[in-house]
């Protein structure tokens, strides 16, 4: 299990390769890997977005991410997991968040990945501020639910 906050752009596939090659346990037991990658779009709520900065609460962010994973572990059978989240200045097409869950069975992997993503969105102290095309900045005021 690993949790990483970074202010540097990252390639999610390279992160996954690295993690899988050096840290992943339970190799022969893994039948399913579910991965979610959240990327910065160039539009949001009707405006062209040219950049974004993400603020977080160091310490509490990690603590709440661990809590998300623990809760998922209580609900599904998870062999391993990886979360990477960007902070600082971000430009469109860059990755904001990577969540990976390894499990024996696909149902657990799918459910846990989605649960962690929703829990992250609603409980982990990150805040986005968008730079919109008028040169203005605006805080994103709320996250929407991913379960429709």
């Amino acid at each position: 299990m690993a949790i990483k906050i970074t202010d540097q752009p990252f390639d999610p596939y390279q992160e996954l390769q690295l993690y899988q090659n050096t840290q992943l346990d339970h190799l022969g037991a893994i039948g399913a890997t579910s991965i979610f990658i959240g990327t910065m779009r160039d539009f949001n709520q009707g405006s062209q977005v040219t950049g974004m900065s993400i603020e977080h609460y160091p310490g509490m962010t990690e603590k709440q991410l661990e809590l998300c994973v623990e809760k998922a572990q209580g609900l599904w059978s998870i062999l391993d997991s990886l979360i990477v989240h960007r902070v600082g200045t971000i430009t469109p097409n860059e990755v904001i968040v990577l969540i990976a869950v390894w499990s024996s069975h696909r149902g657990d992997a799918f459910d846990a990945t989605r649960y962690i993503m929703e829990a992250l969105k609603s409980t982990v102290p990150f805040w986005k501020k968008e730079c919109i095309d008028t040169d203005a900045q605006r805080w994103v005021v709320s996250n929407t639910s991913g379960y429709q």
């Binding site: 959240g38 993400i54 603020e55 977080h56 609460y57 310490g59 509490m60 603590k63 709440q64 989240h85 904001i96 968040v97 993503m117 992250l120 969105k121 609603s122 409980t123 982990v124 102290p125 990150f126 805040w127 986005k128 501020k129 805080w139 994103v140 005021v141 709320s142 996250n143």
Partner: protein, 77 residues
């Protein structure tokens, strides 16, 4: 007794500061922390509060040395 108070994101801009130090002598709830630290400021709706990095409700009591944080709804991911 004293506590640290942190503000994040839009709330930091609203308060005009990222942290306060607050001294107190008698039992204090989280909601009192806000009003003692920011007497003249409206408390924005939906503001969240944490003590020592755990979410708490507004009636939670603070203790000497606690770190209290106020921030808007989170928007990560």
């Amino acid at each position: 007794m004293s506590i640290k108070v942190y503000y994040f994101a839009s709330l930091k801009e609203h308060v005009g500061s990222s942290e306060h130090e607050l001294d107190f002598t008698q039992s204090l709830k989280v909601k009192d922390v806000w009003f003692q630290a920011n007497a003249e400021l409206v408390l924005p709706k939906n503001t969240l509060a944490a003590i020592n990095m755990d979410y708490v409700d507004w009636d939670s009591l603070v203790s000497d040395g606690d770190v209290v944080a106020f921030f808007p709804p989170v928007t990560g991911g």
